[in-house]
């Protein structure tokens, strides 16, 4: 099953509101930490490595500048960047 990019949320507007509410009152460091925890929870829920790699790649496409950063998930076996 590939990454779902067509509309798939039960209640999109409600989710969006809940997401912003969850950040309400947090300073930027706390918001970053919250997001990191959220990403890890959602990633575990998804589970499948191929879907997660697709999501990483899709998110990376919107990066402001194209960099020569390594492709997500393609680790060198020698651990070199």
């Amino acid at each position: 099953m590939p990454l779902i990019t067509t509309p798939n949320l039960d209640a999109g507007d409600d989710f969006y509101e809940a997401l912003l509410s969850a950040h309400h009152g947090l300073d930027i460091d706390a918001s970053h930490a919250f997001n990191a925890r959220l990403i890890l929870l959602l990633a575990n829920h998804i589970g499948r490595q191929d879907v997660l790699l697709e999501a990483l790649a899709a998110a990376a496409r919107a990066n402001p500048v194209s960099t020569d950063a390594p492709t997500p998930g393609v680790a060198s076996p020698r651990g070199q960047a």
Partner: protein, 536 residues
């Protein structure tokens, strides 16, 4: 019974070898010279000798390891050392442990048990100072007449020829030349042998410094591995605590790149760190925060790199252990993987020397252990990246993982305080141990296997095995496998057969009783006598 030998102070004497007077009638030539009498070189030499191969083992000085160094010896290593006749001494002297605890800031986030099932002779790990391991191996080597162990004989030069290697040896009485059909280079991370063949290890050096402190103290903690991320007594860094024999504890403090190594090695810097840790750890363990008397035994400030040589074989020279590859200390993958190198190499080298296998078998040593090194390097690099985040976002995810780990099991699997050494399974699984009954007494499966021999396990009373190979046939029936654990761990049914190499790795298995031709083909493939159908 404990031996009175002080392995930390003993200096083995130089002895003149008859080879040093051999110039008049041609230079001395030996089938194998092993360079370096550390854990890896000693294991290789003992293993070769047990298979009937005479070995010259050289060491450039007369001392064992200074400080506890390797410390954590893994289950698979203990099983290899059992085969070499030393495992029990390590276990008797060492501190066995299976449980680890992980703390984040001032709380425990979880604990784990590395050996959660029963029915294994050996624990997940034994902590034992490296000099004890070396001392026990030296005494084992000295009991084997086929090993000629030469202290204070250091290699200073070499020349590779078509059918041998010429080594230039320096001794307190001057130099001599030694010829060897094969050389096993186990001379450590700053390997002279590696330099002499013009090779370097390649990889990644980490910009961080760590302090290792061995302290003697009467501490009330259990035999467990305790790891702190960002503890209040050492903010922003990591700390690792291990118990050793003789009332000694290993404490590993991450210091950061800017720390001054000379300053940090001073007892007046180390002891306050230890006392603070002890106070906090005592309180965390439900104690009253009392700090015991602390005596500093040994300290070292180190950096590390994850790297390896491009090839572990250079002609007739085989590289093993730290000489061939380096890892970070997180995961105890240094000495353990080095001893696994020796385990992989010894039976192959013996078979080649004794004319039972072609030279190509030695290429499989290099290929298999390069794969293992890559796996160890990958694990140890990932651990290091988790333990010492190199960017703000890396620290963000690290801390998020640790925070979630308190509540969620999935996050505990992501916490990486070291992926503790287990053998690679990429070229066949190492045989799992299990309890068995042999001749009416309780014993262990792995103890039945013999140096240099393939083992065929069959799983019923009736199977008739015909084979031309010099196999050890182990019959695992209801009587031998009363608990059923052998059959469970090998997924065996009546008719199943499992073929193990001399290094106890599975190299073939059958669901139905194999023919003599099938057994022969599998054995010959493992010996590189036939082209393997599948490449690694």
């Amino acid at each position: 019974m404990d031996t009175p030998v002080d392995y930390q102070r003993i200096v083995y004497p130089y002895r003149r070898s008859p080879d040093q007077d051999a110039h008049a009638h041609g230079k001395a030539r030996h089938p194998v010279v092993v360079v370096g009498a550390g854990p890896v070189g000693l294991a290789a030499a003992i293993d070769l000798a047990l298979q009937g191969v005479p070995v010259v083992l050289l060491n450039n000085d007369g001392r064992l390891s200074v400080g506890s160094r390797a410390l954590c010896f893994a289950k698979r290593t203990l099983e290899i050392l059992d085969r070499l006749g030393c495992g029990q001494r390590l276990v008797d002297k060492g501190v066995s442990w299976n449980v680890g605890r992980v703390f984040f800031r001032d709380e425990q986030v979880y604990q784990f048990d590395l050996l959660a099932e029963s029915g294994h002779q050996r624990p997940a790990f034994v902590n034992l100072q490296q000099y004890y391991v070396e001392g026990f191996l030296v005494e084992r080597a000295q009991s084997l007449p086929l090993i000629d162990l030469r202290w204070h004989h250091g290699v200073t030069g070499l020349t590779q020829h078509g059918d041998h290697v010429a080594l230039e040896i320096e001794t307190p009485e001057g130099p001599y030349t030694l010829l060897a059909d094969h050389v096993v280079a186990c001379d450590g991370s700053r390997s002279t042998m590696r330099r002499l063949v013009g090779q370097e290890s390649h990889g990644r050096t980490f910009k961080d410094r760590f302090l290792i402190a061995d302290v003697r103290m009467d501490a009330p903690f259990p035999a467990e591995r305790w790891f702190w991320f960002d503890p209040p007594f050492h903010p922003g860094q990591s700390v690792l605590l291990h118990r050793q024999p003789d009332g000694v504890w290993r404490i590993d403090f991450q210091l950061g790149w800017d720390a001054d190594p000379e300053l940090e090695k001073r007892p007046d810097r180390i002891l306050p760190r230890v006392r603070t840790l002890m106070r906090e750890a005592s309180i965390a363990a439900g104690g009253d925060g009392a700090v015991p008397e602390v005596e500093l035994v040994w300290a070292s400030v180190y950096t590390f790199a994850c790297m390896r040589m491009d090839s572990f074989r250079h002609g007739r020279i085989l590289f093993a252990g730290d000489a061939a590859h380096g890892v970070s200390p997180f995961g105890a993958r240094g000495a353990n993987s080095g001893i696994q190198d020796a385990d992989n190499l010894a039976w192959k080298l013996a078979a080649v020397i004794q004319g039972r296998a072609p030279d190509a078998l030695l290429d499989t040593y290099a290929r298999e252990r390069e794969i293992a090194a890559d796996e160890n390097i990958l694990n140890s690099t990932r651990s290091t990246d988790f333990i010492t985040p190199k960017s703000e976002v890396s620290r963000l995810f690290r801390d998020a993982t640790l925070t979630l780990a308190k509540e969620f099991d999935f996050a505990r699997r992501l916490v990486n305080s070291g992926r503790l050494s287990v053998p690679t399974q990429q070229y066949g699984k190492p045989a799992a141990d299990a309890p068995i009954r042999i001749d009416g007494r309780d014993d262990w499966l792995l103890r039945q296997m013999q140096p240099g021999r393939f083992t065929l396990m069959v799983f019923d009373d009736e199977t008739v095995i015909t084979s031309d190979e010099e196999l050890l046939v182990l019959r695992i029936d209801d009587r031998a496998d009363a608990q059923g654990l052998v059959r469970q761990r090998y997924d065996a049914r009546p008719g199943t057969a499992v073929l193990l190499r001399p290094d106890q790795h599975v190299c073939a298995r059958w669901r139905d009783v194999p023919s003599a031709a099938a057994i022969s083909a599998a054995t010959r493939r493992a010996m590189a006598l036939e082209e393997s159908a599948e490449c690694l």
